[in-house]
Structure formats: C-alpha cells, structure tokens
Symmetry: C2
Subunit: 315 residues, 2 copies
C-alpha cells in the first residue's frame, strides 16, 4: 500500500507519528509545506518540514509544542543580548544546527528536496519526506495592526510567532506560487498513492500552499476516491493554532464543514469528531463520505487509532 | 596618551587585558588581524577579533585557551551528527551567536569595521577595536602532507585547528592583501599614536598580515621611536601557538632575535624575557633598544606589569 500525506507542521506530525505505527514507514510519502519558511539572522528556517521530521524522528518537544526535545536557547539569548533584529524568533541550540546545515547546503546550490532528505536521514525517519516544491513560495498575511489600524504585510511567522496572531486578517497570499513547480516525485507520488491523507492541519496556511503549487490540486483531485481528510476544526475551533483567525478571511466557516469546503472537489472521505456529528449531513450533501470518530490525539495511541480509521476509510 | 596595538588573537588579548589596567581603555585603539577569518558552515568566523573582544570583555575562557567562558557545544555536536563537512571546527553555542550576527550583518552589506564595533559594544569593551582592513585577506599555508607527502594549500584554521600544525610548512601567503586597503581610521590611529605596541603575537600569521596591508607597515615605521614590541618567543620557543613551525618557512630564526627581525625597521624598543638576555647585544646591534624583563603572563597582574614596562619604554 502506498500512502501520501500532505503535511503542515505540528498537527500533521502528531498524526503521522500514529500513521507509522499502523503502516510500514517506507509505505509513507510526506509532501511538506515550505511556504512558512522564513529567513532568520540570514539562516533558512523551515518550520513545517522540521516539525514533521522531529515528530517522526521522535525528537519533537511535545510539552513545549514546537522544536526539539531537551533543547536550550543559549545562542538565541546571546543574539538577544546583541539586539539582533530577528531575535524575536526563538531558535534552539540543537535546532540551530539544522538551520545552519540547511542554509549552508542551499547556499552551495542544493535543492530543498536534498535538504529535506538529508535532515530526515539524520533523524532516522523511515518515511519519504519531500517539499512540495524546490522553489521559493512565501505565505504573506495581509492584516491590520490591532492597535494602530495600519495595514500590515507580514510573513506567516511574523503574524503568528512575533505578533501572536492578534491582528485582524484581511487576506492570505502565497507569493511565488504561480511560478513554482512541484518538486521531483511529488506528482508521481500522488498519482501512485492508494491513499492520499490530508491530516488535521490548517487548511489555509498549511495545506493551502501545498495545493496551490500548480498541478498538485489537480493531481489530488484525480485520486479523489482515495483521498481521506481529517478535520482539524473540532467544535467550531481549531485544536491548535490560529486557523479560526484565517479561515474567515478566505471565506471559510470555522467548522468541520468549513474545513471540508477548503478541499472542495478533492475529498473522498472526511473524518470529523464526535462533537461535530450534526454537521455530517451537510458535508455528505456535498458528495463527501463522512466518518465520525474521536479525532483528538491526546497521545500516540490516540494518533494510531485515528490513523487506523483513516486507513480503513479508503474506498 | 594615545596607544595603538596591533593584535593577533590570544597572546594579544592576554596582554591587552593588562594594558587596560594601566591605561584608560579609551586611550587604546586595537588594530585586528582578519586574515585568519574562515567561513564555517557558511558562517563568517573571525578568530582574532573575537579572541581580543572576549579577552577585553572578560568573556574569554582562560582555561580552555580559546572561545567563550561557560560555553557549551550543543549545536556543533548536532552538526557533527549531521556529518557536516565543517564540523571539525568547534563553534560554541554562545560563540555561534557572534558568528550568526556577523554573517547576517556582512550579508546585508555592513563592513567588517561595523561588525567589530558592534560585537565590541555588546561585550562592553572600552577600547576602540578596528579590523586592519574591510577587505577580504586570507592567510594560506603551503604545506606538505605529513603522511602522504602531497602538497597542501590550507587555510590557517585548517592547518592549525583541523590538522594540528603537523604538516611541514613551505610558505605563507596572504591572498588578497596587495589589493586590500586599510580600514577607515587605521592609518590615522597609527599616525596619531604616542605608543604603537606589537604585543607578543605570532609575527608570521598574526602581525604579518596586518603589516602586509598596503600602507600599514610604512605608517608604523614612521612612528619608529614610539614603537614597542614584545617577543612572543621565549627561550627559543613560542609561549603558545605554532610560530616555531612557521618562522623557519619565512626565513626567521625561532628566537627573540628572529621575532625582532620580522619587524625590521619598525621597532624603537623590543622587550625580551630574562631567559633571552644573552640575545640583547645582537638585537641592539640592529639599532633597536632592548628591554629585558619577565614577559610570561601567568595572570592579569603579570600582564599589567608587562604593560607598565611597555608604557615606560616609549622614548
């Protein structure tokens, strides 16, 4: 069985950690969002690829909810003492090694695909990881300063990490996406998949930029019966993150039905939480089979159970 | 009183730590060697400027003999786990912040002078620090592989840190130096100085590249009566480092007299150790006044005494 997952960061990592307990890791290909990437102190940081890699490599800090376990922040504290302009972005000392390596590789002409493969290998990740594109695509958030009312044009990390997602959002753009091409193997992996999973990720800024790379949305749509998505919106709110702030800005209702609508024309099946069972009829009316289960992944066992439901959902 | 010191790294830092106890820090300008600079994992590392800054900022690790005190090496250990090609060069986590900041500044168009000033300010250094040049000059060591006999063309750090200075040296070059220009303020500082100090540094690879920047050697020579050097060679061997391996390759005897010869035509006075008193006559025959004292800086008090001797030596 060949499984492809489109992945944002933390929700996807948590889910995939369960998936590799029920499916052989080498059956799994993960296509990663790179539009949240940000240059910090001149270093190329890839939050979503790293989160998934650290999750699958059992190096993720589950308590903190981001970055590496057993982390320290000595270099970042020093950069703060220097008054470095990017010191608002916390880079752990262990994590920093990943960014230094990636930046050096990219500067020497390596592709993002090569970087992702190298980092995954170091963490012993058995699944195949690939960025959706080797080209630079950048999510920009058009917002309004919560205090001054000024227009803001923010990178995703500035919006979310630096400013705490407090600024009302007017729109979301993926700069560079129309000229981007899928990375080698991306369309082939989707075309060959017996199951294409959309994990419980932010539909706007995590899976949105993946599907916006030319050819990807169409490739997923062609596999529609094999496409199973999981709602990250439960009870009208995201389980984590700030999707509730972004979905309205792109015309999506903040419900499991609104999240399904983000994948209009793509879904064979849509997994929603028990709490949202009353939405099942509305979603099924759009031609999507709905599966109701417990979607909250409290631990790896819960993630494994959810993955089993997804595996069983292939038509 | 205006004092200018030409500085390599560790010996100079140790000496200058004594100097700022006997002279007001703002009387002191330190002109720094940048030819040992090396790019590690794409980051610009400046060993000599950082050593002097950490010494003067009381952040230097005196026991280890390099880098910052209370240092950890977590990022470098991670880079080693990645198999990064430059992981032979140990970068501490605190130290890494300096290199990340410097690299980001240089990439954004700052000069090395601006970087040196910024780093010195963060460590509260009262003396004025400046690189000898804002241009890229690189010391290259022509050597012979100690095992294979093959010719080697090594950066200074490869020769010294990576390979442990075991390869016989055939020559030393300063690539880029003929096209380099003194950094703003360098010639003016030398011209205005009441005292120009050559601390006990390696005459070949520490002070050599400073004096090789066009205009610098001549500027020092014009101040000859005010120039006081201290021999880093005591009893026919360097107190630290590998000058004994390099001096013969450029035709210098490994003695306090050979070190003085490296500064031919520049020295007003030359301070040598008690152990080398029998060399005084030979050196004085070259027209240099010789001062014999205890030059071994066991601690800051000893460095202060040596600095007092140098201050008193101005003619």
């Amino acid at each position: 069985m060949k499984i492809v997952a489109l992945a944002g960061g933390i929700g996807a990592g948590k889910f995939l950690r369960g998936m590799v307990r029920v499916a052989p890791p080498d059956a799994l290909t993960v296509i990663l969002n790179v539009a949240d990437d940000v240059v910090v102190h001149g270093l190329h940081v890839s939050p979503d690829p790293d989160s998934v890699t650290y999750w699958l490599g059992d190096a993720f800090d589950r308590e903190r909810g981001w970055g590496r376990r057993d982390e320290t922040f000595r270099a970042t504290e020093e950069l703060r003492a220097f008054g470095a302009p990017d010191a608002w972005f916390n880079l752990g000392d262990l994590d920093l090694a990943t960014h230094v390596l990636r930046s050096a590789m990219l500067r020497e002409g390596a592709t993002m695909s090569e970087v992702v493969t190298r980092v995954a290998a170091r963490f012993g990740v058995g699944a195949r990881l690939m960025p959706v594109t080797d080209d630079r695509v950048e999510t920009r958030i058009d917002a309004v300063d919560a205090r001054s009312g000024d227009r803001l044009d923010l990178s995703f990390q500035e919006y979310w990490v630096r400013r705490g997602a407090v600024d009302p959002v007017k729109g979301v753009r993926f700069v560079g996406v129309t000229d981007s091409r899928p990375a080698p193997g991306v369309l082939e992996a989707i075309g060959d998949a017996d199951l294409v999973v959309l994990p419980p990720s932010n539909p706007v800024v995590s899976l949105g930029p993946i599907l916006a790379v030319p050819g990807v949305r169409a490739a997923v749509g062609e596999r529609r019966p094999a496409v199973v998505g999981v709602s990250g919106i439960v009870g009208g709110a995201p389980l984590a993150g700030m999707a509730d702030k972004l979905m309205p800005a792109v015309g999506l209702e903040v419900t499991a039905a609104g999240a399904a609508a983000a994948y209009d024309g793509l879904l064979g099946s849509w997994v929603i939480d028990q709490r949202d069972r009353e939405l099942a009829g509305r979603i099924e009316a759009t031609g999507v089979r709905v599966i109701v289960t417990d979607t909250v992944m409290r631990d790896d066992d819960a993630a494994e159970r959810l993955s089993s439901v997804v595996l069983d959902a292939t038509i």
